[in-house]
């Protein structure tokens, strides 16, 4: 059974991820079950997707602009961001924008080339779910949340940067 990391625990993955074919053709929708569709599929089949039973999620590619779905958030149960490679930094900005600018509160899942070593950064950018790439050990990866015990910058999980916590509010808090 496929697993993901969600809220810092290993969890079952009940979602079916639908990727367009190499020729950009949209995959067929299964009659039932929870699906995550591409932005293209959401745009093209919006009504059919809303009429369908089962939960709906959308996934954004590294080149998609999250502003495009800013008005549609209420229709989604989950938003995923695809990392063709974990060193493609665009997804990190997309995560922050979804959380900080467009107010997305639901599950934000990193998919694609996601390895243990970027979980700490991703979670600071607002991701709370991780579908690790094939071959990664989800259980072992849980320790990544503790890679660092503090961080300087403002982030989604803790908007107050360290310097404000240091000089303005009581002692510094730690993430654990």
């Amino acid at each position: 059974m496929a697993v993901i990391i969600k809220n810092q625990q290993v969890a079952a993955n009940n979602w079916l991820l639908l990727r367009p074919g190499a020729d950009k053709s949209l995959p067929a929708l299964p009659p039932a079950g929870d699906v995550i569709v591409s932005l293209a599929q959401w745009t093209a089949q919006r009504d059919a997707l809303l009429a369908r039973g089962g939960h709906l999620g959308v996934w954004l590619a590294n080149t998609d602009d999250p502003a495009v779905i800013a008005g549609d958030l209420k229709h989604f149960e989950l938003i995923a961001v695809d990392f063709p490679h974990f060193t493609d930094g665009r997804g990190y900005s997309i995560g922050r924008l979804l959380r900080e600018r467009y107010g997305w509160q639901g599950e934000l899942r990193a998919i694609g080339d996601v390895i243990r070593d970027v979980i700490f950064y991703l979670s600071r950018c607002g991701f709370d779910a991780f579908e690790l790439k094939a071959g990664e050990d989800a259980q072992a990866a849980l320790s990544a949340f503790g890679d660092f015990s503090e961080a300087y910058q403002t982030s989604v999980e803790r908007p107050q940067p360290l310097f404000r916590r240091r000089v303005l509010g009581g002692g510094p808090a730690t993430t654990q």
């Binding site: 060193t87 990190y92 070593d117 950064y121 950018c125 660092f148 910058q153 310097f163």
Partner: protein
């Protein structure tokens, strides 16, 4: 020195543990070579021609004597007894073993040092004026702002994987010694009419294959907004910078392709969301950081020490050294001193472990235990009493660190080149050496006057050849090592990119070409005050070309007018 608090220390320690675990997983085979590569690069670890190379950050060039001793220890224990100071206020070790790098990082952490983000496509070590805090022409001390930027950039979660590397330089003086016009972001700290600190922001400068001078996108950025503005610039770059071609991935290409006005509008639009948010700096933080910097306890001294003046009159060699290697200081009776790492016969920037220990002793004895690393690959004792200069000179001379050549032709900047670097087209170090040997008559050197000669082994321009008054670039000509010479480049306030003189020449011809350039310069200058680069600007490159290539004997076929973009 900035002194870490408990949290700064903990973050660096966490990094050591993280990297130890990554190295362990890599060696055990559970972290693939491809995945490990970008991770180790963010720790300054390259795999080079002969061995891994570890690049250690010297944040904004400031180094304590105890830290230099730790570097000496590392050089002895884990390397071959020396290190190489680079033009980016870093030190590189060329021979560490991969499995020992975590131990090296742990040793560094004990003296509040690290290799964080010294390589990779992330925000690199922030650099500044090597006379920061002591320069007579300083308006704002940039060190505090550099440390604020260091903390903001260290493990920034959103900007760890940019399209390409990203370098920020800060200057706070009238004279730009930090090369802010050729950085991804250049910050000029200044004051507005009310005396509030603010920053002039330049973006999109850089050398490399497409050398470009940065453009101003903000004239007065109030200090409170420094970090939110940087976040905005970086976010625009992270989202829209090109990732399809690594030669077009620097921010300078994005700025150029969008046009600076459009880029600026994008940044302003992004900043409108971030401005006044939690990243807004507060006075208490600036004060806290300021207080964590130790400052020299200066004595009250006369503006000019009489013993110093006497020694200058008595000893010509000392006077020569003082003229080139001693610099004015904002505190009366003090001076800044450059220890030259450019002795003929030694690769530029190389220092042995024994020299490091000896330099650390000099720093303790004469300069409050502190040093600076300059981007010209020299070391600086920034706070020396004038009365101690003669004694310091004698000791530096014994250590081979008193070559009186700062600002002169033999103060050559050279990258590691083909002897060490796998990207090189040609060697740099032997060329630097051959030139230094040709010009080793000191009287002649002083007569030639100020001249920056920079050498890069390939168009990545690590040796800054574009901004040398004379630039030498290694090129590959049908598998053989050749050198392209350019003239008229400059760094600093009047930064300019050099123009290629003509067809490239072989290694043995380089010193001859330099000599010909110098001959013509000496013949054509108005006076000893007119520098080489001034003459190039006044008379153009044609007469030099003519003199070197002898009229029509080789046809440069128009290439001579192009920039050195190879």
């Amino acid at each position: 020195m900035y002194i870490y608090d408990e949290i700064d220390q903990r973050i660096v320690d966490d990094r050591v543990n993280q990297f130890r675990d990554q190295t362990r997983r890599f060696l055990a085979g559970s972290l693939s070579e491809d995945d490990f590569r970008p991770l180790r690069l963010q720790n300054g670890l390259y795999i080079q021609r002969f061995a891994p190379m570890l690049r250690v950050a010297i944040p904004y060039g400031l180094l304590g004597s105890h830290q230099l001793r730790a570097l000496a220890y590392i050089a002895r224990k884990w390397d071959r007894g020396y290190g190489h100071f680079s033009t980016r206020q870093n030190i590189q070790f060329n021979w560490p073993k991969l499995e020992e790098v975590p131990d090296i990082l742990a040793k560094l952490a004990t003296v509040q040092m690290h290799a964080i983000q010294t390589s990779g496509n992330c925000i690199r070590n922030t650099t500044t004026d090597h006379f920061a805090g002591v320069a007579a022409d300083e308006v704002i001390d940039p060190l505090v702002w550099c440390e604020i930027i260091r903390q903001w950039s260290a493990f920034h979660p959103e900007f760890a994987f940019l399209p390409r590397k990203f370098k920020i330089a800060v200057s706070g003086a009238e004279k730009d010694r930090a090369a802010i016009q050729v950085h991804d972001i250049g910050l000029q700290a200044t004051q507005d009419e009310q005396g509030n600190i603010c920053f002039r922001v330049l973006v999109g400068g850089g050398l490399g294959r497409t050398p470009i001078i940065g453009t101003e996108i903000c004239a007065f950025l109030p200090w409170q907004h420094l970090l939110s503005y940087l976040d905005a610039v970086l976010r625009v770059y992270n989202r829209y910078g090109r990732r399809d071609n690594k030669y077009k991935a620097r921010i300078k290409i994005l700025v150029k392709e969008l046009k600076p006005e459009v880029f600026r509008a994008e940044v302003e639009a992004e900043w409108a969301h971030l401005k006044d948010g939690p990243a807004t700096l507060v006075a208490q933080e600036v004060e806290r950081i300021t207080k964590r910097f130790t400052r020299p306890a200066y004595q009250k001294l006369d503006a000019l020490a009489s013993g110093y003046v006497l020694a200058l009159g008595r000893d010509k060699a000392f006077a020569n050294w003082a003229r080139r290697n001693v610099h004015s200081h904002k505190v009366a009776g003090y001076a800044a001193v450059t220890l030259s790492l450019k002795k003929t016969g030694v690769p530029p920037g190389d220092v042995t472990a024994d020299q490091m220990d000896a330099i650390a002793d000099l720093a303790d004895r004469y300069s409050f235990g502190e040093l600076r690393v300059s981007h010209e690959q020299n070391l600086i004792l920034a706070d020396v009493r004038q009365a101690d200069l003669f004694e310091l000179w004698q000791q530096a001379r014994e250590l081979g660190l008193a070559t009186p050549n700062i600002g002169l032709l033999t103060n050559i900047i050279a990258c590691p080149g083909g002897d060490f670097c796998s990207l090189a087209n040609a060697k740099s170090i032997p060329v630097a050496e051959a030139i230094a040997q040709r010009f080793d008559d000191l009287d002649y050197l002083h007569d030639i006057g100020e001249l920056d000669l920079n050498i890069s082994g390939c168009m990545n321009s690590c040796g800054h050849h574009h901004v040398g008054h004379i630039g030498v670039l290694g090129v590959d000509k049908h598998g053989a090592e050749f050198y392209q010479i350019s003239i008229g480049g400059a760094q600093g306030n009047d930064a300019a990119l050099g123009k290629v003189l003509g067809p490239s020449v072989s290694q043995s011809e380089v010193p001859d070409v330099i000599e010909k350039l110098i001959d013509l310069y000496l013949e054509r200058r108005d006076s000893a005050e007119e520098r080489f680069v001034d003459v190039v600007r006044r008379i153009g490159i044609e007469p030099f070309k003519e003199h070197v290539y002898g009229g029509h004997h080789k046809k440069p076929a128009g290439r001579g007018e192009q920039l050195a973009v190879a």
